[in-house]
């Protein structure tokens, strides 16, 4: 095995990725080549430093942080909290509120007017008829010309 080929195979050798045949050829070269020998050693040292790095730990409240993010980011909290503290999605709440407001508007504003209008002169309800009454002509002009 020539020197360059040996150099290229050093990583595979350390990884145990070479065939038996390549291993013995490489080892034969290593015996006669100091450069490859020392290259192999320092490459091995590098790998053991990397392997020896202590695994870095995430913060102790990692899971809580993740859970918080999931809640914040899921558009409807519905699926995430299913079964525990079940939340109603915002969309549903707003649709229901909108419906209630529409119903109130119809009942309190639109319907009374329609019912009351034709019977306006005889209405006994003062507040229903009041806005329809024309403003007395005298009251406004008096203040304009003192």
């Amino acid at each position: 095995m020539d020197h360059q080929r040996a150099q290229d195979l050093l990583s595979d050798y350390l990884d145990g990725e070479l065939s038996d045949e390549s291993i013995s050829e490489l080892e034969q070269h290593l015996e006669s080549c100091d450069e490859c020998q020392s290259e192999l050693e320092s490459l091995g040292d590098t790998l053991s430093v990397l392997k020896g790095l202590k695994p870095a730990d995430p913060s102790p409240d990692f899971l809580q942080q993740v859970t918080k993010k999931v809640r914040r980011r899921s558009k409807s909290a519905f699926d995430f909290n299913f079964g525990l503290d079940r939340k109603i999605p915002f969309e549903a709440v707003s649709m229901i509120l909108l419906g209630i407001l529409l119903a109130l508007y119809l009942i309190l504003v639109v319907l009374p007017k329609e019912q009351v209008d034709p019977a306006a002169p005889t209405s006994t309800r003062p507040d229903a008829g009041a806005p329809m009454k024309p403003v007395p002509p005298g009251s406004g002009s008096q203040t304009m010309t003192p």
């Binding site: 990583s11 990725e17 490459l43 590098t46 430093v49 392997k51 020896g52 870095a56 730990d57 990692f62």
Partner: protein, 241 residues
């Protein structure tokens, strides 16, 4: 695999990986295994993972919590070694699990769950790096910060990091210096090379799994990794002289 049914001797809803090895062997006659042999630890872990993932896809929070607890360190370590900055790493690792929760439906089980998880991790890492670069943070800088910090810890307060005139007998400190040196060198490395070093040499992933995670073929991975290792080795050698 045989069936996903839990043999009577194993508790069906076990959340944490069981340290006991004998749980499944009693039920062996009842639960037909392909070779008629006891399940190995790896096979049992695989079954458990499948059950967990199935529960996750139904939106089961407890299964999700178990998955986070099981993988948080591995995911965080990959992200941290890749980005070199603890704060960023924490944020990105959290995002990885949020993505896993929200996209559990897309995991079909064609690959190992961990492979899918690491693919998500790698994507998040690369995207964050792109984002940080766009905001003007140089690639090597975050890693340099870590290295600087480690160097300060390892070399004492007043000693310059690699002032070898007075050799310290403290081996831990020397180890720290080597570590700092390597981390600094990794910060200078092209991100694709750094990723391979992290996955293989720090995380201990197999070449096949690396190929599944990165989408590169094994030959490409090996030759890139060899080049990356040589660069690290050179940096070590320069400072050992």
């Amino acid at each position: 695999m045989s069936s996903a049914k839990d043999p009577p001797s194993a508790s069906p809803d076990q959340d944490a990986p069981s340290p006991k090895g004998e749980a499944l062997t009693d039920a062996d006659q009842d639960a037909p295994s392909p070779k008629g042999e006891a399940l190995t630890d790896a096979e049992r872990a695989k079954l458990q993972e499948r059950r967990l993932v199935r529960r996750l896809r139904r939106g089961d929070q407890r299964a999700f919590a178990t998955i986070v607890r099981t993988y948080q360190q591995r995911v965080f370590n990959i992200v941290f070694r890749f980005l070199g900055n603890r704060e960023e790493a924490e944020d990105v690792a959290q995002d990885v699990f949020v993505t896993v929760y929200q996209n559990a439906q897309n995991f079909r089980g064609d690959s190992k769950f961990s492979t899918w998880l690491y693919r998500v991790t790698v994507n998040h890492c690369k995207n964050r790096l792109k984002y940080l670069k766009r905001r003007g943070r140089h690639m090597g800088r975050p890693l340099d910060e870590v290295a600087e910090h480690l160097m300060a810890q390892g070399s004492g307060e007043t000693q310059p990091a690699f002032h070898a005139a007075i050799p310290r007998p403290d081996e831990l400190a020397q180890g720290r210096q080597l570590e700092a040196l390597i981390l600094r060198e990794m910060g200078k490395m092209d991100e694709d090379h750094r990723l391979l070093v992290v996955l293989r040499d720090i995380q201990g992933m197999s070449y096949q799994e690396m190929a599944d995670v990165t989408g590169l073929n094994v030959g490409t991975i090996k030759s890139r990794l060899h080049r990356a290792r040589l660069a690290l080795k050179e940096a070590l050698a320069r400072h050992m002289r």
